[in-house]
Symmetry: C2
Subunit: 371 residues, 2 copies
């Protein structure tokens, strides 16, 4: 078992395993990790993924094809939860029993894999779907939410995302890493156990490319890191800041695309989660937890949302890139979902019914006691 | 009443009106237009829209704010359909009674307006939401579908889209026009009367910008129009062509982002619908109708979808831009919706479970008789 960090205040633990089907598993904990069962896999068969990428010649982006994802033959019992620790050895899940807080393993149905074979000859600009897809299980509590994690566990999650990113960076193949959580039956999530995913790309996807370009342009034109100017302006304006921990804060940005869109940012320019100090990481974790709790309190329902973690590309040092988390709440009012329709998908521009300063005031006003 | 086109085979008619609240209305027909009631509006009050745009500094795109859209005080009776001809003068709809096929009017709750006032001082890069939002009612039959239009009516719709685009082009303010239809309760559509919308922008939105750049690049590198090379390659491969009318065809593109994504294209390079000949327009209309019917036949349910009409930007002549229609069916299998999650929204890259050539074969195999 490896000790991940070694200052007394924030010692954490991790341990590596290999599943029966060959996939790697890492368990992470705030205390020493203890495993009390076999390391399971829902199926003993090695993953046979042959993902492919094709180039979209008019949008200028790759499209991923993973035909094996539809070939799932595994038929679990109704109450089976693949992300819970295995309780019945006849129906192994993805995780063992034991003492640990978080777990990360390679997705059994990946859209990208590091060993993707060269595809058979096909249309022009077809290539192997090289990359990686990981599952991050946030907790052993199947009924919990990400925001039910303790402050220390939330900080551990940030360390885990940082650790996965550092591993990909060390491998040399991966150029961009996106951690995210998609939550809510309203957006097709059928597995309620709190978990997220990580997509690792062997190239810079369009959003990372664009954000890097825009941040570099700001720095070249002003001499300042974009995030420094942004945080200073928002703190001065005040009306869109939701919560401020000093080293990190949450803001409904003045250019919010979703009604209650919330960004969680460090207060100084940092490109990667691994570059945060322990204190900054703890403040970032508390701010993220606060933002998630406010979304659930807003309408008194579990807010369906997408959370994306934006870190600097790994192809070269990019100190201009602003590390931040974006939360897209899918409700624009109680019971009213935001859908991406013509202007969002066909033109690439969002229409929003409410000004961000109004949304921020509503988020500040919620009562968090009974969430 | 104006006669829109005058060849005997395809004569069409249009007539202009002004609603009580000041908004313009155009009725279009295959036969002379006859109006047999007052021109109505759901409310006599002039539209007081003050849309605003703000610049997203990291994605490099405008975001539209239309706070008045949430302020709808109009409380119609339960069965009230604002897109049906007015039957009860106590509850006026958007349209009069009479003989006409299609109607276009300015949206009462626009995200953009041509006379948007300068906004009060706000965050940096805030400006008036200049543009236009129109509603296109496809039929007087509230229970129908777009694909229930006759071939001649479908061709008329293409003429209507062309006419609206030409009007915006003549005004000089609008630089890009997007016509679209969003259909299905699954994607939040509550008004089932067949209709679409038109968004007109005073700038080039990201998707139009990108498509133009990519098409120009192809033309510069090869000397050929992108669409000529694409259609030739797909006809030679054959496996992704769904329907071919000669002058127009439908294809599941090799880079489809949605499982049953279907493109409708003219067979020669054309940037604008207005540049199609009558014969080409008729072939394009038949191909579009065929594509829509196949989507409904595929799983035996009305397929929820987004349809977007991509025409060349209006800021300058752009002969390189390939006019085409994109259909995004939201079902990736029977009863299984495609949602845009982490990789699509956070990275800008789609994951698709099925190869386009397989999807195209399924679409070709459906029986259209009983649709």
């Amino acid at each position: 078992m490896a000790v991940m960090t070694s200052t007394a205040a924030s010692q954490t633990y991790q341990q590596e395993f290999t599943k029966p089907d060959g996939r790697p598993l890492t368990l992470y904990g705030l205390r020493p990790i203890v495993v009390t069962s076999e390391i399971p896999s829902p199926s003993p068969d090695p993953v046979d993924a042959r993902p492919v990428m094709r180039w979209h010649p008019l949008r200028g982006e790759w499209v991923m094809y993973a035909a094996h994802r539809l070939g799932r033959t595994f038929l679990p019992p109704p109450e089976y939860n693949p992300l819970a620790p295995t309780s019945d050895p006849a129906h192994p899940t993805e995780l063992p029993r034991g003492e640990y807080d978080l777990a990360v393993f390679a997705n059994r149905f990946p859209s990208l894999t590091l060993n993707a074979p060269e595809p058979p000859p096909g249309p022009a600009d077809t290539r192997a779907g090289v990359g990686a897809c990981e599952v991050v299980v946030f907790s052993q509590n199947a009924a919990g939410r990400l925001s039910d994690l303790s402050d220390a566990q939330m900080s551990l999650l940030l360390s885990v995302w940082a650790d996965r990113t550092s591993r990909f960076a060390a491998g040399g193949v991966i150029k961009s890493v996106l951690a995210f959580e998609n939550r809510g039956v309203e957006v097709g999530v059928t597995l309620h156990h709190p978990h997220g995913q990580i997509y690792a790309y062997d190239h810079l996807p369009p959003v990372a490319t664009r954000m890097l370009e825009m941040a570099q342009k700001h720095q070249a034109e002003t001499g300042n890191a974009w995030i420094s100017d942004f945080v200073a302006a928002e703190r001065e304006a005040g009306e869109r800041v939701v919560h401020d921990e000093g080293a990190a804060l949450s803001i409904v940005p003045p250019f919010a695309r979703y009604t209650y869109e919330t960004w969680i940012l460090p207060a100084r320019p940092v490109g990667l989660l691994s570059e945060l100090t322990h204190d900054e990481r703890d403040a970032f974790a508390r701010t993220l937890k606060d933002a998630l709790l406010r979304l659930d309190a807003l309408f008194g329902v579990r807010m369906p949302y997408l959370m994306t973690v934006h870190q600097a590309p790994l192809d070269a040092p990019h100190p201009e890139f602003p590390l931040h988390i974006e939360l897209y709440p899918y409700l624009r009012a109680a019971g009213r979902m935001k859908y991406l329709a013509g202007t969002e998908q066909g033109a690439g521009e969002f229409a929003n019914d409410k000004f961000p300063e109004v949304a921020a005031a509503e988020l500040r006003a919620v009562t968090l006691e009974d969430v």
